[in-house]
Amino acid sequence: MKVTQELFKGIYSSNPVFRLMLGLCPTLAVTSSVNNAIGMGGAATFVLISSNFVVSLIRKFVPSKIRIPVYITVIATFVTIVDLIMAGFFPDLHKSLGIFIPLIVVNCIILGRAEAFASKNNVFFSLIDGLGMGIGFTLALITISTFREILGNGTWLGMPVFGSSFKPALLMILNPGAFFTIGFIIAFLNWLDRKTSVSS
């Protein structure tokens, strides 16, 4: 029971983007196309699981006063590994994500989960937490980028959605579009929450 709870909390009840408001910076930057969102989500999920695993593994040996530099070293190592592997084996994805990969180091979701969860829980649950949060982050990115890419570019995953007479609203793939989309999604989720809590 607890396993599914830890897994699903990252997807809905404490979704990193829509609930915890973590990692908004990369969210704004990469959600202009669904393709970027999937790549960024996948890379961040890998780093999240790996760093949660290692942080949880070494949590008993690391003195609490120097835990932050240790966590950052662990996270930066995994990010660099992802960067190198992507450049070597998936050059096209690496080209489009480019500068965002090094930014995963300062993505507060990763350090946030290391500090709030992995450093206090055993390895298994930390892995589950990393997986759930990673999936939640990826789904959030895909949701936002779906709205932005369709409205702002007239495509979804690069495929045209409307006929050629559709004139996309450029603003939606510029940064304000991300703020509008995130704002409306959060408002919708809060409205949903209030509705369910009133009825139950």
Binding site: A169, L170, L171, L174, P176, G183
Partner: protein, 341 residues
């Protein structure tokens, strides 16, 4: 119960003004410019205005229904937003553009903040900024030549609006080395001819957005609103004064203090913006000093955008930016209480 004393906080003296009364006065004041727009740009201008107003009304009604609030579309505020947005559009926009713009302005500019009275920025300008960022091609291309006039207001130049001509000529003159001598000569000629365009600019025989071209008709409405004491003199005068002063100092080609101040005051959307949009009661300061600073700030940003920015016209962005400073301006310019520290 009749004999009870009622104790209530101030204000104790109430005016008979109400939201509908104010809004319908503003609408009345905007009518001359609208008639002018139809005269200069043809019947299509009327269609654009009607479509924008209807879209604003429908958007407002939908929002208020969804938010389970009383539907107050008859108070006129959505009509004012619609008219102001329409006055900021070129005559030849495709008809879906004002629909999207009015919807965005009402929803994002007003409804999400809680409706009339809570919006930090002018909804009509939010709509315009959204359209400008999303479909720059439709918003910046002016093809309809006004009746009895030219797009530029200068009889020799027929291709672009006055501020576009100014911006282009200025860019050429600043980097004159990288352009051909013919282009430089043309730019110098255009610059020197602006003084012959005052008449066209004043009456409105120039290209531009629907309601912004005729200074005369806008001033007619503005005088009416000032007489009715719906708008004060502080914001428009400090705004226009700042633009005149700064453009006189900086916009000339022969060093400082050689600019054409009158051209900058009459061209573009300055008159419309200063009298009808910067003075919006919800989004402008309430104190004396606050209003003066607000006007000066709008003027400075407008001139910066016109002379050094990426767009030829900066009125709408300057008002939007200054709208955001209103809470601060009100806070810092609050008059001292008698005896207070």
């Amino acid at each position: 119960m009749d004999k009870n004393f009622y104790v209530s906080p101030s204000p104790h003296i109430k005016d008979r003004d109400s939201i509908p009364k104010i809004m319908y006065s503003v609408i009345l004041a905007l009518v001359p410019a609208g008639v002018g727009a139809v005269y200069f740009f043809g019947i299509r201008a009327l269609y654009v205005i009607i479509i924008t107003v209807l879209s604003a009304l429908v958007s407002e009604a939908i929002c208020q229904k969804i938010m389970k609030r009383p539907v107050t579309i008859t108070d006129g505020s959505a009509i004012v937003t619609g008219i102001l947005l329409a006055y900021n559009l070129p005559a030849e926009v495709p008809f879906w553009l004002p629909v999207v713009g009015a919807f965005f302005g009402i929803v994002i500019g007003k409804a999400v903040f809680g409706g009339l009275g809570f919006n930090p920025m002018n909804p009509a300008l939010i709509g315009r900024a959204f359209l400008m960022a999303s479909w720059p091609v439709y918003m910046t291309v002016f093809n309809t030549v006004p009746k009895n006039g030219t797009l530029s207001g200068i009889s020799a130049i027929t291709s672009a609006t006055p501020l576009n001509v100014f911006k282009h000529a200025r860019e050429i003159l600043i980097n004159s080395s990288s352009f051909s001598t013919q282009q430089v000569t043309e730019a110098t000629n255009a610059m020197s001819q602006f003084s012959s365009s005052y008449g066209s600019l004043f009456w409105g025989k120039v290209g531009g957005c629907l309601g912004e071209t005729s200074a005369a008709l806008l001033l007619l409405g503005a005088v009416f609103l000032m007489y009715k004491r719906i708008i004060g003199w502080k914001i428009p005068f400090s705004y226009i004064g700042t633009v005149a002063l700064l453009s006189w100092i900086f916009s000339g080609n022969d060093g400082l203090f050689s600019g054409d101040a009158l051209f900058h005051v009459l061209s573009g959307g300055l008159i419309l913006g200063a009298f009808f949009m910067a003075t919006d009661m919800v989004t402008s300061p309430i104190t004396f000093k606050g209003r003066i600073f607000f006007g000066i700030g709008c003027g400075i940003i407008t001139v910066i955008i016109r002379l050094w920015g990426g767009y030829p016209e900066g009125v709408s962005y300057s008002i939007l930016l200054m709208n955001l400073t209103v809470p601060l301006l009100d806070k810092f310019s609050r008059p001292k209480t008698f005896g207070g520290k």
